[in-house]
């Protein structure tokens, strides 16, 4: 099956929708932690899902570890959302949630706390972002519960054949600048060819109202 290409205009529309989606996501997260979040200009890329590991690798910090929140979404647009943070982001997020007073607890407890915070942050960001984009495209999605993984890039548990060979990944990279901390994050939306075909058509339908 031929690989689907996005035109420049389609990428621009998608970028604007993801920008709006991330704006909503930041607002939802800011409400939870009661801090304002400054967003950087998002960078969007599209590539084959089989190349995902290489793209995640470029976002990891020097110790090659990162935290990954995975959540499935299902609607006319369906796929997997992966939110990737450098591993150190977990501790920063725990601190932003005002949970640093737990630091005298055993490290196992801290790890669990980090996972719970990552899961909550992932749920908020993915839900708001994917939800807003699909709402603008007249779709409704449901979500699986989020799952958190701490990965090693070199021995990643993400096998190359995890996705349908025709699946594409949409990557959106942004930096969340909190009042006290800077945390970079990258959102990947993985969708199969059928879903990407629907997305392209929905992007055009969205813009038709402004023609």
């Amino acid at each position: 099956m031929a690989e689907i290409q996005f035109s420049g205009v389609e990428k621009d529309i998608l970028q604007e929708l993801m920008n709006i989606g991330f704006g909503q996501a930041a607002a939802d997260l800011a409400q939870v932690i009661d801090l304002s979040i400054e967003l950087s200009v998002p960078d969007i890329q599209l590539f084959k899902a089989s190349e995902l590991r290489e793209h995640i690798g470029t976002e990891a910090d020097s110790d090659q570890e990162f935290s990954l929140v995975e959540q499935y979404f299902l609607g006319k647009f369906k796929g997997i959302a992966l939110l990737v943070f450098p591993a150190k982001a977990g501790k920063k997020l725990v601190s932003l949630f005002g949970l640093q007073d737990q630091s005298n607890k055993p490290s196992q407890h801290l790890e669990l706390l980090e996972k719970e915070v990552m899961m909550e942050v992932g749920n908020i960001l993915i839900g708001a972002c994917v939800g807003k984009i699909t709402e603008l495209l007249n779709d409704v999605v449901i979500y699986s519960p989020p799952r958190v993984m701490i990965q090693d890039v070199r021995n990643s548990a993400l096998p190359r054949n995890l996705f349908d060979p025709s699946s594409m990944a949409i990557s959106m990279k942004t930096v969340f600048h909190f009042e006290q901390q800077e945390i970079s994050g990258q959102l990947f939306l993985i969708a199969n060819q059928e879903s990407i075909t629907w997305l392209k058509s929905a992007l055009h339908a969205f813009m038709e109202q402004y023609q």
Binding site: V9, E16, I20, G23, L39, L136, M207
Partner: protein, 125 residues
């Protein structure tokens, strides 16, 4: 004819805004893709009303509003942004913007914003 400056790094967002302008009114439209270009074009064209995105490369909308307000304290600026956080909204108003529109903008929101901006223009006379 009212001169509008539309500032957004996204050509799609600029197109959406232009299409939401009331059809019965005539506007002279100038566009800019970042805050610095907006500042340069503001100095050059002195638009009556500016629509300003906030998250942009080179110079963001927050700085651009502050700089334009230094050039012209009476500048009428409407923020059109995806950043819908409460604190961002407060900051935008503190910088002197007239109001804020959440993206994606709608024809009704743009019409209402223009009515408010035109009222502010009349009050300046």
């Amino acid at each position: 004819m009212i001169t509008l400056l539309i500032v957004d790094d996204s050509p799609i967002a600029r197109q959406i805004l232009k299409k939401c302008l009331p059809k019965e009114s005539a506007f002279s439209i100038i566009e800019a893709a970042d805050g610095q270009e907006a500042l340069d074009k503001y100095r050059q064209y002195h638009p009556e009303i500016t629509f300003m995105d906030m998250t942009m490369p080179v110079m963001d909308g927050f700085q651009a509003i502050a700089e334009i307000k230094q050039v012209d304290p009476q500048a009428i600026i409407i923020a059109a942004t995806a950043d819908v956080q409460k604190k961002a909204r407060q900051r935008i108003i503190e910088l002197g913007a007239l109001m804020q529109l959440a993206k994606p903008v709608s024809p009704k929101a743009v019409r209402d914003a223009l009515a408010k901006a035109e009222q502010a223009l009349r009050e300046q006379l």
